[in-house]
Symmetry: D2
Subunit: 162 residues, 4 copies
């Protein structure tokens, strides 16, 4: 059972530029994280873009949907910034069918020691292997259907709308 | 949906005694790990024992089974040393029915920086929420049925027997 | 032999705001770092300000100098952003006499796992105990006199001017 | 000003063997630690042995002394287990003259996240650059003359005898 992982950026992969004192994107840490987790799941990691999810526009979401549609694997994980993760989930539910798609991300960059990224990646990998076809958000150890999830801006946690 | 987590020790929870230069058990790190993962899953953590799984005997396994049987929650995670994890899984499959039980552990102690523990905990939490009733081992990002899994002593990874 | 540590902010103490995705200052990590280093040096930590050194103005430098002058301890460490650390060193050399003052900082925030902060703090503490009266910058494992040091903007390292 | 670093093992360099669940020595982490600290000090690192200091015998100490005597650099750091660090310091004071020798170590292995190793290395590097010729122990942010230091077995800290 092969799984496709599409990387789109987000807090997950942010790094600290020590010369400028700012946060930026370089390469994804997904392969390193999978090694750390001693993952033996058959995955193919592909970077589609490396952007903050607040900068994600309609065209980016369509591109992600295109890659999902054309993916040979019907189990797909998408790493994504948390701010607009549910918007992308909605777009994917509209455009992609017959696949299990799990979006996940992190509140703290993986490189910053106290990140939730490794925990979230572990849960996303498990959910994508076990959930039925559909589009889901996997955060805070839970999974949510694309049409019943929002990010609580105060707590930073994901929750059901109803 | 409440989940019960039984702690039994194992590499997961080992710490370094800086006065003696040896590894030992103190308290479980499960609550700290759940906080780090920003878990919002409803879990109850209970420590049953704190031992190396090589020291685990028939009586320990029966005690774990007892707690599983009496647990009000029908979704149970057991943190366990990896060396005899499959033995305990077999015993639980024999004695406990009608529950989803997921055993997980770590190859490197959580406190040692490069641990796989957080990844495994994330995947175990996801698997226990989605798998049917039965007894499973969750390691290396995968899940295994209790009767088709072994630890490869050379690679340290879990694999199917058949 | 008591040592005074004045905290002024800088990369050293930056943290990641997980709700906003930006870097910010909260409390200093100096006490935590001294604990981690198992320091048994008699130190008094005092926070004077918590700012990026690019925002440091004449009035801030005068305030730091005032505190140095009034300090009962004649051995003083100042944690400081690296961008204008040499400017503050120059001002202190002008205004403060008869004390050993060591400025140090970090290229990566202490909270971000791969920080040079703990190494720099260890060296600054050692330098302040052993160097003659004067004003110094302690970075990259070395110490520099205040009038013969600059930060190389390309490499991010401190070096002699001559 | 070149500095020689002799590696002898000790807690500093212990690692966790994930297949056996035990602590062991592989390669020294000194070069990695110097990189992390962004050290620009001119150092030559040489591994003499990789042993627990409780296993260190007269012949090991003589060998270390031999290397110190033959070292072209007159500033030398020795990484060493803490349990018998003061014994080696005494032997070196007896056999080596006209050099500044600083012994340091760690209470927690560098690879275990919460190590004091980086802090100690930073202070040892600073002390060796600034102290007069003699043999010293650098631990807990302080330096001690070889003939007035002991490890307190209860607290794990170094302290003056008198």
């Amino acid at each position: 059972m092969a799984i496709r992982i599409f990387v789109t950026g987000g807090t997950f992969d942010k790094e600290y530029n020590e010369l400028k004192g700012t946060l930026f994107f370089k390469d994804t840490h997904l392969p390193e994280m999978l090694r750390l987790g001693r993952s033996r799941v058959n995955v193919h990691v592909e970077t589609l873009m490396m952007i903050d999810s607040l900068e994600m526009k309609e065209e980016h979401r369509k591109l992600i949907a295109d890659y999902c549609i054309r993916s040979e694997e019907d189990k797909i994980i998408i790493t994504h910034g948390t701010d607009t993760m549910t918007d992308t989930a909605k777009k994917l539910a509209e455009l992609v069918s017959d696949k299990t798609i799990v979006l996940t991300g992190a509140m703290i960059p993986y490189k910053f020691g106290s990140s939730d990224g490794l925990f979230n990646l572990g849960s996303a990998l498990a959910f994508v292997q076990t959930l039925h076809k559909g589009v889901y958000v996997a955060m805070n150890g839970r999974y949510f259907n694309w049409d019943n999830v929002r990010k609580n801006k105060i707590t930073g946690e994901f929750e059901e709308i109803n």
